[in-house]
C-alpha cells in the first residue's frame, strides 16, 4: 500500500510533519511505513519557462538556440537538440547549478545530475529544458508527455514558478506494510484516519453529495444475487452519455504518485475510488448486458470464460461469476469479461461496487491463476458498508469531471446488512493487561480518535463496520496501547511464583553428544529433513527395505525435497561430498537431527521422530576411530559397559567386511562402518569414508548422571599376559567375552597389546596377545587368588580352538 503526502493532506489538512517524522510516528502507532520516496529528491532549481525565440545554431544542424523567459528580468539562452519545441511553448527549465534525476533515456543517476552553464559548439547555454524522464518520471505516469522531447506545459502554467510543483513532483510517497487484520488501511482514507489519530489532527473524509438525474436506475438494471454467502452486497449505478477523455491533472497526479497509470476519465475514476476507499469497482458497457440484468451465481463445472485480457479461463462451481440474462460477463471480484468491456464507443456504463467473500476470492484467484489489484483487495474481506459510499463517490466524480450523465438512484442488494458491533470496555482490565496506569478518560479519547463510539449506558465501545478486527477487550487494549505509545509502557519483569530454568534431560544428553563429537574433532553439520526418494537407491537399499516407507509431502518444493528422511545418512554423505569436492582434507562432521518413521502410510497419526547422532569422516582415522567416539559418548552418558560389536549388521550401504551393529546390553543402539565403495562412488567421495549412527532415544532412556566414587585402589594389581594363536576370521571379541565371563571377582581390566598376522605365523592364523589385570580392594592378591580365574579363561579359550603360546 502506498500513499502520497499530498493526497493524505487532502483528508488531514493539518498534517504538517517531515517525511521522517511521519514514518516514525506512523510506524509506532501501528501503520508500519516501510520507506518513502521524495519524488523531487534529485531535482533542484527547475522552473516553468516560456520559449520566446528559436534560432538555428550557427555551427550545428541539429541544435537550436532558444531564448527562454524564466520569470527573471532577462531571458536565459539555452541550446537544445530537442525536436519538439516551438516559440511560445512553456517548458520545464533547469537553471544553471540545478539538478535533474537522470537522462532522457529514463535511466536515473543516484543523487541526480548537476546542470552547469557551458558552451555547446561555441554557443553559450545557461541551463537545460527537460523531458519527463529527466524529471525522474515516465510517460506511463504522464501520458501527455511527448514520446521523445521536452515536456510541454499547458498554456496556463505560470512562468517562473516551480515546474516540480506544477507537475506534482513536490511530493513524498510512503510505502506501508499493512497487517492482514487492518483491511481498512488498504485505502487512502483508512491511512488518513490513522494519520489524523496519530498526529491528533482533524480528519476530513470526502463529503459525498447526492448525484444523478431524475431517472430511476432500476429501469436500467436489475440485480439478482443467487449466492448471498459469497456476495453479501451488490451496488449498481448507471451513467449514460459517456464522454471519454483524459481525467484532470490533479487526478492523474494522485494516481501517478501511487504508481497507477492514468488512462481516461472513466478508468481513472474507478482506480481513484479503489485507492481512496479501498473498494474495487468495475465498469461494464451496459449495452452488452443482455436483459439489462445482473445475476451473481457460481460457475458451472468446466464452464469457460474469456476475461478482458483475452485469456480463456476454465472454471468450476466454486468460482463466483457475474452474469447477465444469457452469459457470464465477469469473474466476480477478479476480472471482467472481454464481452462486456468498455470500448471507445461506449454510451452507457454500469458501475458495480460489490462485496465478495474474501476466502472464496482468494481460493478462486488461486484456482484460476489470476491475481489482480481487485482480487488482492477483496480477498482480505472488505467492509460491505463501504461499497455504497464508493459507488456514490465515483458518480460524484463523474459529475464533477463531466464524464457523463449519472442516472438517479442505486440498485443496492444487501439482504443482511452488517451493523456496528459492541465490545465491553474495562479500563482497569486494560491497565492490568498492559501494566500501565492510563486514565480511563485518556483511553476513551484514544478510542474516539479512531472513530470508535462509546455507549455510556452499557459501558461498551461501539465499533464501526470497517473495524471488523476489534472483537474483544484485548483488541481495545492494543488500540489504547498503540496510541498511548508502546514506548511509554513501563518495562518490568514478571513477578509471581518462581520457576526453575532447565534443559530437558534429552537436551542435556544432546549437549553431551555435541561435546564428545567436538572434542573428538567433529564439527556440527545441519542438513534438511526432507530429501529425494532417489536417496534409497543411492544408498543401495533393497526394494523391500522398510526404510523405504517414508512420509511423502503433498506439496513439496520439488522431488528433491519430497519425502521425510527415514535414514540420516544422505545429508551427511552429501555434506562430506561437498567438502571432498572442494578439496577440504580430513573432514569430520556430525549431525543431531531427526528421522521420521511413519507407523503407517499415509499418515493417520504423528510419526515416530527419532533423533539420530550421525558421524561421518574421511581422511585421518579409520573404523576404530569411529568406534572410539561411540565409546567415549556412551561413557559420558553413564553407559559404562563396553558395547558389543556385531559384524552381522547387514547394511547394504556399508562395506560388507567393515561394518557392525553397536549392541548395548543386548539391544542394537546404532551402527558404524566404512561406506560401501559403490555408494561412495555415487556420492563422488574419492576417499574411504566412515560413518556411525547412534539412535538417541535409546541413549536418553538409559543414560544417567548418577556417579559414585569407588575409591582409588590401595593394593597392588597382578597382571597376566596371554599370547594366543587363533584362526584369522575369528573375532577377538570372542576372546574378550571369555575373559569377561571367567575373569572372576578380581578381574579389573584387560587389553589387547599385540595383534600380528604374517610370515612368522601359520597360514590362516593370527597371533593375539592380551594383558589381564586383577586387583582386590582389600588385600594384596596372592598367586592362588587368581589361579582359578586364569584356569577358567584358559580352558574356555582352548574350547574355542585357540592355541596358547608361551
Amino acid at each position: 500500500m502506498n500513499t502520497s503526502l499530498s493526497w493524505l493532506k487532502a483528508y488531514v489538512p493539518g498534517l504538517d510533519v517531515s517525511a521522517q517524522e511521519y514514518c516514525d510516528a506512523m510506524t509506532l502507532s501501528g501503520s508500519k511505513v516501510e520507506g518513502y520516496e521524495r519524488l523531487d529528491a534529485d531535482l533542484k532549481d527547475i522552473v516553468i519557462g516560456q520559449i520566446l525565440k528559436i534560432e538555428k545554431h550557427p555551427d550545428a544542424d541539429k541544435l537550436i538556440v532558444c531564448q527562454v523567459d524564466v520569470g527573471t528580468d532577462a531571458p536565459v539562452q539555452i541550446v537544445t537538440g530537442a525536436p519538439n519545441v516551438h516559440e511560445g511553448d512553456k517548458v520545464p527549465v533547469v537553471l544553471d547549478g540545478g539538478r535533474v534525476a537522470g537522462g532522457h533515456d529514463g535511466k536515473k543517476t543516484p543523487g541526480g545530475v548537476k546542470i552547469k552553464k557551458g558552451k555547446l559548439r561555441g554557443v553559450e547555454s545557461c541551463g537545460m529544458m527537460c523531458s519527463i524522464e529527466e524529471l525522474g518520471s515516465s510517460r506511463e505516469l504522464f501520458p501527455e508527455a511527448p514520446e521523445y522531447g521536452i515536456y510541454i506545459f499547458d498554456s496556463s502554467a505560470p512562468v517562473g514558478e516551480s515546474a516540480i510543483a506544477e507537475l506534482g513532483l513536490d511530493d513524498v510517497v510512503f510505502e506501508y506494510e499493512i497487517t492482514s487484520n487492518r483491511v481498512d488501511c488498504f485505502s487512502v482514507i483508512g491511512i488518513a484516519r490513522e494519520a489524523a489519530a496519530t498526529f491528533q489532527k482533524e480528519f476530513c473524509p470526502p463529503v459525498i453529495k447526492k448525484t444523478g438525474n431524475s431517472e430511476d436506475v432500476s429501469d436500467y438494471i436489475q440485480v439478482d444475487i443467487r449466492d448471498q454467502a459469497l456476495c453479501p452486497r451488490y451496488c449498481a449505478r448507471v451513467v449514460k452519455n459517456i464522454k471519454l477523455g483524459p481525467s484532470p491533472k490533479w487526478m492523474q497526479r494522485r494516481l501517478a504518485s501511487n504508481g497507477i497509470r492514468p488512462i481516461n476519465n472513466l478508468v481513472d475514476i474507478t482506480n481513484y475510488v479503489m485507492e481512496e476507499y479501498g473498494q474495487p469497482m468495475h465498469a461494464y458497457d451496459l449495452d452488452t448486458i443482455a436483459g439489462h440484468k445482473i445475476i451473481v451465481r457460481r460457475a458451472d463445472d468446466q464452464e469457460t470464460f474469456v476475461t478482458l485480457d483475452g485469456q480463456e479461463r476454465t472454471l468450476d462451481s466454486s468460482v463466483l461469476m457475474i452474469c447477465d440474462e444469457e452469459k457470464p460477463v465477469g469473474l466476480a471480484g477478479i476480472m471482467g469479461g472481454e464481452n462486456s468491456m468498455i470500448t471507445d464507443s461506449v454510451q452507457t456504463v454500469l458501475f458495480e461496487a460489490a462485496c465478495f467473500d474474501g476466502t472464496n476470492i482468494r481460493l478462486s484467484s488461486k484456482k484460476v491463476g489470476l491475481r489482480t489489484d481487485a482480487s488482492a483487495k477483496f480477498e482480505k474481506g472488505l467492509d460491505p458498508n463501504n461499497a455504497l459510499d464508493a459507488i456514490n463517490r465515483a458518480c460524484q466524480l463523474i459529475e464533477e469531471l463531466g464524464a457523463g450523465e449519472v442516472v438517479g438512484g442505486v440498485v443496492d442488494v444487501y439482504p443482511n446488512p452488517v451493523g456496528e458491533t459492541r465490545v465491553p470496555f474495562d479500563a482497569a482490565m486494560i491497565n492490568r493487561l498492559l501494566g500501565t496506569q492510563i486514565e480511563e478518560s485518556a483511553m476513551r479519547e484514544y478510542l474516539q480518535r479512531l472513530e470508535l463510539g462509546f455507549d455510556d449506558k452499557t459501558g461498551e465501545v461501539i465499533v464501526p463496520s470497517w473495524r471488523q478486527d476489534l472483537e474483544c477487550l484485548a483488541d481495545l487494549a492494543e488500540e489504547v496501547a498503540r496510541l498511548y505509545g508502546y514506548d511509554n509502557i513501563p518495562t518490568t519483569l514478571p513477578t509471581g511464583e518462581a520457576t526453575t530454568g532447565k534443559l530437558s534431560f534429552k537436551l542435556r544428553i544432546e549437549e553431551i553428544a555435541r561435546n564428545v563429537a567436538q572434542f573428538c574433532g567433529f564439527s556440527q553439520a545441519m542438513t534438511y529433513s526432507f530429501e529425494s526418494p532417489k536417496v534409497f537407491d543411492k544408498l543401495s537399499l533393497d526394494e523391500k527395505d522398510p526404510l523405504r516407507k517414508a512420509i511423502v509431502i503433498s506439496n513439496p518444493l520439488g522431488e528433491d525435497f519430497s519425502i521425510m528422511r527415514t535414514v540420516s545418512l544422505n545429508g551427511m554423505l552429501t555434506s562430506l561430498a561437498t567438502n571432498y569436492n572442494r578439496r577440504n582434507k580430513n573432514v569430520r562432521l556430525y549431525e543431531l537431527g531427526n528421522i521420521y518413521l511413519p507407523k503407517q502410510v499415509p499418515l493417520t497419526e504423528l510419526p515416530d521422530e527419532r533423533m539420530q547422532f550421525t558421524l561421518g569422516m574421511y581422511g585421518d582415522g579409520d573404523f576404530f576411530t569411529m568406534k572410539g567416539v561411540i565409546e567415549e559418548f556412551l561413557e559420558q552418558t553413564g553407559l559404562r559397559e563396553t558395547p558389543v560389536y556385531d559384524p552381522n549388521s547387514g547394511k547394504p550401504f556399508l562395506h560388507p567386511g567393515r561394518q557392525a551393529n553397536v549392541v548395548y546390553k543386548g539391544q542394537v543402539i546404532g551402527f558404524l562402518g566404512e561406506v560401501h565403495p559403490e555408494v561412495a562412488d555415487r556420492y563422488e567421495l574419492g576417499e574411504r569414508t566412515y560413518i556411525a549412527v547412534i539412535d538417541m532415544p535409546y541413549i536418553v532412556q538409559n543414560a544417567t548422571f548418577d556417579r559414585k566414587y569407588e575409591g582409588i585402589a590401595k593394593f597392588p594389581s597382578v597382571t597376566r599376559d596371554l599370547s594366543m594363536l587363533m584362526k584369522k576370521e575369528m573375532l577377538v571379541g570372542e576372546v574378550e567375552e571369555v575373559i569377561r565371563k571367567k575373569g572372576g571377582r578380581y578381574l579389573e581390566s584387560f587389553h589387547l597389546f599385540d595383534l600380528y598376522e604374517g610370515s612368522q605365523i601359520r597360514e590362516g592364523y593370527k597371533s593375539v596377545a592380551y594383558s589381564i589385570t586383577f586387583r582386590a580392594k582389600d588385600k594384596t592378591l596372592e598367586e592362588s587368588d587368581i589361579n582359578d580365574a586364569m584356569e577358567g579363561i584358559l580352558n574356555d579359550l582352548k574350547k574355542l580352538d585357540i592355541e596358547l603360546r608361551s
Binding site: C472, T491, G496, T500, L557, T578, L589, P602
Partner: protein, 343 residues
C-alpha cells in the same frame, strides 16, 4: 712423630685440594673422594697409623685428621655443585627449541553457528527461570494453526506457505505449536522456550530456506503484563547483543497474540546511528511477540480472566546471521568445513 704426621696431613690435604681443583667431571670427583676419604684412602691410612702416636697426642692428631677431612669434603661438595650447575647449564643450552614452530593441536571440532546462538539464547532464558522444551516437527494442523486462532481458510495459512502431509498433518511452520502442547498440560505457571526446526515452502536463496529454526517463548501466570513482556525482551536483547542495546516495540499483528508487537534492537554495529548493516535505520528487526490472545488461552483450557501471558518467536538463523555477520543463509546448510571452523 707429631710433626711427621702433620706434614703428611698437609701434604695429603694439598694434594687432594689440587686434585679436586683440576677435576671437571662428577665421576673424577668420586674417584678423588675414594682416593682420599675411602676405606683405603690416604686419610684413613693416617688414622690407621694413629696407633704409633703417643696416647696424649692422639686427640690432637685426630683433630688434625678431621680438619683435613672437613676441608676436603667441603671442597668436594662445592666443586660437585659447581660441576652440576655447569652441566645443567650446558644441557639447557643444548636443549633450546624454536618456540615459533607450529603448535600440536588436539583437533577439536566446532559447533554450528545456529547451535552457538541457540545455546546463548537458552543460557539467557534458563537463567531467567525458563524451561527448555520441545515438540514434534511433523504436527497436527490443530496445534500449528487452529489452536493458535488461525482457523481453516485463514489467510495466514497461505502466508506461511505450509508443507502438508495429509489434510490435517503438516510440517510445522512455527514453534508456536509447542505453546499449545505445553498449555494443554495444565501446569501453571508456565515459563518456557521451545527451540526447533520449522518448515515453510520458500525456495532456497541467500535469505530463505525451506527449513529453518525458531525459538518460541511463552510465559503464563497471574498478572503477566505487556510491561513484563517489554522488560523480558529488553533484558534478553541486552544479554544477547550487549549492555548498551536498546529495544523498540512496534505494533504489529499476529493471530495468536493481542496486543502484538515487532521488536527492533538498536544496531549493534553502529550503535544506532545508521550504517550499511542496518540499512541506515539504526535498528534491526529481530522478533515478533505479544500478549497471548484470550481465545488461545481459552482453547487450551486456561481461564483468560484469571491468567494472562506473553509469547514471542525468534528466528534462530536470523540471530546467527546477524551476530556472526554471515551474508548468505545457504552457508548454514552446506556444512563446508572451512565455514564451520570459523565458529
Amino acid at each position: 712423630m707429631e710433626m711427621h704426621i702433620k706434614d703428611r696431613l698437609d701434604e695429603i690435604r694439598k694434594q687432594a685440594l689440587a686434585d679436586i681443583h683440576s677435576s671437571d667431571k662428577l665421576e673424577t670427583l668420586n674417584d678423588i673422594k675414594v682416593k682420599y676419604l675411602g676405606k683405603k684412602g690416604a686419610l684413613t691410612a693416617v688414622l690407621k697409623s694413629m696407633k704409633d702416636v703417643a696416647q696424649e697426642e692422639r686427640p690432637k692428631v685426630g683433630q688434625l685428621v678431621n680438619d683435613a677431612r672437613v676441608a676436603i669434603e667441603e671442597l668436594l661438595e662445592r666443586t660437585r655443585r659447581e660441576i652440576q650447575a655447569r652441566e645443567r647449564e650446558a644441557k639447557l643450552a643444548a636443549e633450546v627449541i624454536d618456540v615459533t614452530l607450529p603448535a600440536k593441536k588436539n583437533k577439536v571440532g566446532h559447533r554450528h553457528p545456529n547451535t552457538i546462538a541457540l545455546e546463548e539464547v537458552e543460557r539467557i532464558f534458563v537463567g531467567m527461570g525458563y524451561e527448555v522444551v520441545e515438540g514434534p516437527e511433523v504436527e497436527y494442523d490443530y496445534y500449528n494453526f487452529e489452536a493458535l486462532n488461525i482457523p481453516a481458510n485463514h489467510p495466514a495459512k497461505d502466508e506461511q506457505d505450509t508443507f502438508y502431509i495429509t489434510g490435517d498433518i503438516l510440517l510445522r511452520t512455527q514453534t508456536s505449536s509447542v505453546q499449545v502442547r505445553v498449555m494443554e498440560q495444565e501446569k501453571l505457571p508456565i515459563r518456557m522456550i521451545a527451540p526447533g526446526r520449522v518448515f515453510r515452502s520458500d525456495e532456497v536463496d541467500a535469505t530463505h530456506s525451506p527449513s529453518f529454526h525458531q525459538i518460541e517463548g511463552l510465559v503464563i501466570d497471574k498478572n503477566i503484563t505487556f510491561a513484563d513482556l517489554k522488560g523480558t525482551l529488553a533484558e534478553f536483547a541486552r544479554q544477547l547483543f550487549g549492555e548498551q542495546t536498546r529495544v523498540k516495540f512496534r505494533p504489529h499483528h499476529f493471530p495468536f497474540t493481542e496486543p502484538s508487537a515487532e521488536v527492533d534492537v538498536s544496531c549493534f554495529k553502529c550503535g544506532g546511528t545508521g550504517c550499511r548493516f542496518c540499512k541506515g535505520s539504526g535498528w534491526i528487526e529481530i522478533l515478533g511477540c505479544g500478549m497471548v490472545h484470550p481465545r488461545v488461552l481459552k482453547m487450551s483450557g486456561i481461564d483468560p480472566d484469571k491468567y494472562s501471558g506473553f509469547a514471542f518467536g525468534v528466528g534462530l538463523e536470523r540471530i546467527a546471521l546477524l551476530k556472526y555477520e554471515i551474508d548468505d543463509m545457504r552457508l548454514l546448510y552446506e556444512n563446508d568445513d572451512r565455514f564451520l571452523k570459523q565458529f
